[in-house]
């Protein structure tokens, strides 16, 4: 069970700092010091030092607030190196990166906040390589569906600061961070949509009074509950089974819940001035990052099929402890 004081503190900090205006400004500026600096000062960026379930609970809080900061990347960098990285850090994974006596070369696409961070941890052939970005890479700026920086970094004989064996599987742990973020965003989207349906009046009553609308509200709540249960299960036992199942479910839930939430919000949900898009666009982005629902369902299905009929139910109850 995660530490309530920890998540409550983060929740209050983000309630103060991660306002609608801050998230909007982050999209324009490509960096959000008003959210990041207080979080960093309060020590939240060292979340890789926390027990895994606490770290993931923090990411869930970040997801609830659509926090436009590389908190998941700080966690991943710390897990890869087994110690938190000072300052701002992101993570690069690409098969086009290579490390030799001349240093780190090649390009990595979709590096979160790549243009803005002080350091990048690149994973090359199972090794975590820390490089200082500013001096070392050519940056092409891009953004994901949520307007968050996902930059391409091109290294040419960049000098490594640290080389260490990668202490975790980046694809699995990366997927786990997205599950936690999505669980938070889905819970927030469920609340936002219920509140909107209670306030918005048409035909003389709140639209929440219509059964057709209630069905959408319930299906969003179901998706949020499934994603939360999946996140909690994978936080407790972060095995291959649990991560694959959790990411497959959360990514699927992101698709179905955003569809229903937008339907309830009608045209209002399509505007920039209303904050639904802070959540829905992030859910669409996180859904595909580190593998989408099809990828992980395939992975899981392969493992389950290989384990055979006799182990099917044991895998449902025991997950990676069974297969």
């Amino acid at each position: 069970m995660s530490d309530w004081l920890l998540t409550d503190g983060a929740r209050r900090l983000l309630a103060d700092t991660c306002t609608y205006e801050a998230v909007q400004a982050a999209e324009a500026d490509g960096w959000c010091a008003t959210v990041w600096d207080p979080m960093y000062r309060a020590g939240y960026a060292s979340l890789s030092d926390l027990p895994l379930d606490d770290a993931l609970a923090l990411l869930t809080v970040a997801g609830e607030h659509a926090a436009p900061v590389p908190l998941a990347e700080a966690a991943l960098a710390g897990w890869l190196l087994q110690e938190p990285v000072e300052g701002t850090v992101s993570v690069a994974a690409s098969t086009e990166l290579r490390l030799d006596s001349g240093g780190l070369s090649g390009s990595a696409a979709r590096v979160p906040w790549g243009h803005a961070v002080e350091r990048v941890v690149a994973v090359v052939d199972g090794q975590a390589v820390v490089v200082a970005r500013a001096s070392a890479a050519r940056v092409e700026r891009h953004v994901n569906l949520a307007g968050e920086p996902r930059d391409t970094l091109v290294f040419e004989r960049a000098e490594p600061q640290v080389i260490a064996p990668a202490a975790c599987d980046l694809r699995e742990r990366g997927a786990l961070t997205r599950v936690a973020l999505m669980a938070g965003a889905l819970a927030a989207m469920a609340r936002l949509t219920v509140d909107y349906a209670g306030e918005r009046r048409q035909f003389g009553r709140p639209i929440a009074a219509f059964q057709a609308v209630q069905q959408h509200l319930v299906s969003i709540a179901q998706d949020a509950a499934l994603a939360s249960a999946a996140a909690a299960g994978a936080a407790r036992v972060p095995g291959a089974f649990e991560i694959a199942a959790a990411k497959a479910l959360a990514s699927r839930a992101a698709l179905t819940a955003t569809r229903a939430a937008h339907q309830v919000h009608g045209a209002m949900g399509m505007t920039r001035e209303y904050r639904l898009h802070h959540l829905s666009r992030r859910l669409w982005a996180w859904r595909s990052e580190y593998g989408d629902e099809q990828h992980w369902a395939q992975q899981l299905g392969r493992a389950v099929a290989a384990a055979g009929a006799e182990n099917l139910y044991a895998s449902i109850t025991g997950g990676s402890t069974a297969i």
Binding site: M1, A187, A190, R191, V194, D195, G198, A208, Q211, Q214, Q215, L217, V218, A221, Q222, A224, A225, L226, S228, A229, A230, A232, G233, R236, F241, E242, A244, A245, A246, A248, L249, R252, E293, Q294, W296, A297, Q298, Q299, L300, G301, R302, V304, A305, G308, A309, E310, L312, Y313, S315, I316, T317, G319
Partner: protein, 384 residues
């Protein structure tokens, strides 16, 4: 706070895992695959001898008090045993209703005399119960029941018709929801529950033919059936509230997401070539992921019951998605296996598939239609 969104993470303790292992080895020994005809979840056949074996293990009436023959265990322990029986396709039909809801209801609302009379026999697997809620004019709208009990010397005279009464023809008792006073502005007032002997004078049971051809549902007609005061369950007039809590026992358990589980397991066992292609892996992965997470939510509901909470909204939320998933699983399997199912197929897979197709529409109807469940869950979504 929004009740329908509150699910505490739930995992099994060491003791609960030990119980799970015990049930698994019991089933492997007592009911090896191939030696019995497995059923689809709670619709599995009745077998009093098997129920008695479970009773001798202490697995019936688990959460009932020891002084009434129960075992003072938790809702989670009962969850652990139930899910193993259901996924095995074990014949749970004889004890299912008594163990799941009638026993707990009598324990909660019954008189001392009723508890002593019924609970030990339920725990020994010697009594079976049916459910007396639905009527021709009262399906989802239970407050409109017309079965009426009129005060007579020493008890009540009951007249009315109950329908969809599963296994009434082979059960001993049923708990009847009926009207004991005139309909007032509050339609939920004036309802009561009576424990009625299915062999009473004036009571006739007739089969309702269903599309599968199975003898499962019945119409039970009560004509001047005398029910003594001693068999009034709880308070006269409190039937609505009592019945609502009975429905909470009915919802959110593993029987709401396991009805088609065995179809998948049997597909893998008997037609591995169908279960290993790229599309099959996707289907299998999606299904297993969902079973895994639904199970965690369902377990969380059982933990809430153990902590004294009344997770009505959460139970409805889980049952609604669990039962839709049961149907989705079947559709996916049908998409993988290009079969033309025939009755009495020799392969367990084809037989289960045949049965599942014919019973699947009931998954999202029985125990409260999904439309009603969505309405219950949506009330639990409003900020408290």
């Amino acid at each position: 706070l929004r009740a329908a969104l509150l699910f505490a993470p739930a995992d099994l303790t060491e003791q609960e895992l030990a119980l799970q292992a015990e049930v698994r080895s019991f089933l492997a020994e007592e009911l090896p695959r191939g030696t019995f005809t497995p059923g689809l979840g709670m619709a599995a056949p009745r077998d009093p001898a098997f129920s008695a074996k479970l009773a001798s293990r202490g697995w019936l009436g688990m959460a009932l008090p020891a002084r009434y023959g129960g075992h003072d265990r938790s809702a989670v322990d009962r969850f652990v045993v139930s899910e193993e029986l259901l996924r095995w396709g074990a014949p749970v039909g004889y004890h299912w209703v008594a163990d799941r809801q009638s026993g707990p209801m009598i324990n909660r609302f019954g008189s001392e005399e009723q508890k002593q009379r019924f609970l030990p026999a339920i725990c020994r697997g010697e009594l079976s119960f049916a459910i007396g809620m639905s009527e021709p004019e009262a399906g989802s709208d239970l407050a409109s029941v017309r079965t009426r009990a009129v005060r007579v010397d020493g008890g009540w005279l009951v007249n009315g018709t109950k329908v969809w009464t599963s296994r009434a023809h082979e059960s001993d008792w049923f708990v009847v929801l009926c009207r004991t006073s005139e309909v007032s502005d509050d339609r939920r007032a004036g309802l009561s529950q009576l424990i009625v002997d299915l062999r009473s004078d004036g009571l006739t049971i007739a089969a309702i033919q269903v599309l599968s051809g199975h003898r499962e549902f019945n119409e039970v007609v009560l004509e001047d059936v005398f029910v003594p005061d001693a068999l009034v369950l709880g308070e006269i007039g409190a039937g609505w509230a009592q019945n609502t809590s009975e429905l909470a026992y009915e919802r959110g358990g593993p029987e709401r997401w396991l009805s088609t589980y065995l179809v998948v397991e049997e597909l893998m066992r008997s037609r591995p070539e169908l279960a290993s292609g790229e599309r099959a892996r996707l289907v299998l992965g999606e299904a297993v992921a969902r079973w895994w997470a639904l199970r965690r939510l369902s377990l969380s509901v059982a933990r809430m019951i153990d902590s004294g909470a009344a997770p009505a909204a959460q139970s409805a939320l889980v049952k609604e998605m669990g039962t839709r998933f049961e149907q989705d699983v079947l559709s996916c399997v049908l998409g993988l296996a290009a079969l033309e199912p025939v009755a009495d197929a020799s392969s367990p897979f084809e037989r289960l598939l045949f049965e599942a197709i014919l019973s699947a529409p009931s998954f999202t109807i029985r125990g409260g239609t999904n439309e009603i469940l969505r309405s219950v869950a949506s009330k639990g979504l409003a900020a408290l």
